[in-house]
């Protein structure tokens, strides 16, 4: 994997498309074990991200990710807004000065994002939140020295499958306790879309 400014922007634009396409799906996930706004929140936030990135001209990845972070922070709201904001802010900080980001440094930055998330949300792994998506993906990039886009996809898929069977103990879903087992966590599902977009950009699958 090699991420440059253009690819990063592409990644975010594709993520936006996925959020718009999955807006109702994510909201539907948030109805039985949440409050039915997650898709609306993410679609609103990434729509703004896309316009923001369209307007600007960027010379480094860190600036792109900083604008992503700040936009999510100020447009998403709810629990997920500050959390995604924090994650992308950590990525931005850690990737400062990098021009062509490779697997290992991306993995380190993701690890920072995971600590940021855990600190902000006071959640550990296994509590059925987006943390359970970000954490295994960070490990994935730090693991095998030659990971592939398909590998990322299958890692993300298996993480998602695991999360579905967990019991929520943090966030609004925690009120639903055991009833959350078998329901997908909406924040994990939206995180999946972010990394699915990354994998597609990485593979060059996306012709956008």
């Amino acid at each position: 994997m090699q991420l440059d400014v253009n690819k990063t922007i592409q990644w975010m634009q594709l993520t936006n498309e996925k959020m718009q396409a999955n807006k109702d799906y994510l909201t539907t996930l948030d109805q039985p074990i949440g409050d039915g706004d997650h898709g609306i929140n993410m679609a609103r936030g990434f729509q703004e991200v896309a316009s923001k990135l369209n307007e600007g001209t960027y010379t480094n990845i860190s600036d792109v990710l900083k604008d992503v972070a700040m936009t999510l922070m100020s447009k998403v709201g709810g629990a997920s807004g500050p959390l995604f904001g924090t994650a992308f802010l950590k990525l931005s900080t850690k990737l400062k000065g990098e021009e062509a980001v490779k697997q290992d440094i991306f993995g380190t930055a993701l690890t920072e994002a995971v600590s940021g998330l855990k600190q902000r949300g006071k959640a550990e792994e296994g509590e059925k939140t987006m943390v359970d998506m970000w954490a295994p993906i960070a490990q994935f990039f730090l693991g095998d020295s030659n990971v592939t886009a398909d590998g990322l996809l299958s890692k993300a898929e298996s993480a998602l499958a695991n999360i579905k069977e967990m019991t929520a103990t943090k966030g609004r879903a925690a009120y639903f306790k055991d009833k959350t087992v078998g329901h997908q966590d909406p924040g994990a599902a939206s995180t999946y879309l972010i990394f699915e977009a990354l994998a597609e950009v990485w593979k060059g699958d996306s012709e956008r």
Partner: protein, 331 residues
Amino acid sequence: MKKIINDPNEVVQDMVHGLVTAYPTKLKVVPDTLVIAREDAPVQGKVGLVSGGGSGHEPAHAGYIGKGMLDCAVAGEVFTSPTPDQVLEGIKAADGGEGVFLVIKNYTGDVLNFEMAAELAEAEGIQVEKVIVNDDVAVEDSSFTTGRRGIAGTVLVHKIAGAMAENGASLQEVKRVAEKVIANIRSMGMALTSGTVPAAGKPSFQLEENEMEIGIGIHGEPGIERKPIASADDIAAELVERIMNDMEIPKESEVAVMINGLGATPEMELFIVNKKVQSILKDRGIYVFQTFVGEYMTSLEMAGCSVTLLKLDDELKSLLAAPSEAPAFRI
């Protein structure tokens, strides 16, 4: 979905505009935000009070702005906590030099966004203190979970902390009484039907025609039990009992009572619930200092109600009885 709205994505903007044009001598909107403030905010020399949260709980929170209550309310999207930059604007608009006090309901989103705003405000040199309201006894409280939700009891925190601030108390003093209220307040709700988030377009959950849910949250989060609709008397008794199981209210205590409608419940039904609540309290030898019946913390057009009990001492009584000019809470 049957709603009197324009664009479902613009309901909060439209509402905020409609609110400040309804009370132009009392309220103003901070330009380019969804932050509503007292017309004369910031009030110099007074601790500023800021609250807020997702929209859809009207009259919470902007209806509680006014002399003797809040200085500012920050409106998020429907059921979605406002973002840190918006809360920061609220803090700035409320800051009269004596610091700003945040009343936060205990939801992950509210806590995260308000805390980040507090950090930003402190970085700008504004002193900030906060309380987190968690009056809903439907949720088990544990340090390993998100903990109890903040529901209708929050309004009485606004009232009492607001009166304290209006008296010229310091930030620490305001915090002290707010914490005292939180230690002594408990609520429990129930619903018959779900509300519908405008942008979602369909009800958040479904209850059968003969079903009710005890302990439901104001975002439609689940309660303790779904079961056949009981009589108003049985419902009132169950809500009071669950509150009293959680917080002892000895004989001869004085309490404030709030019977809160969740949006679609006729006021008639709230008074019917009140009848039973008052008779239970009387039977237990508990004195009612003041009763509030109406819509205070709603959940869009949810049908249902909540009962809140607040144990009072002399200080809380005098603060509760102090004047308030907030449109939705006139005393």
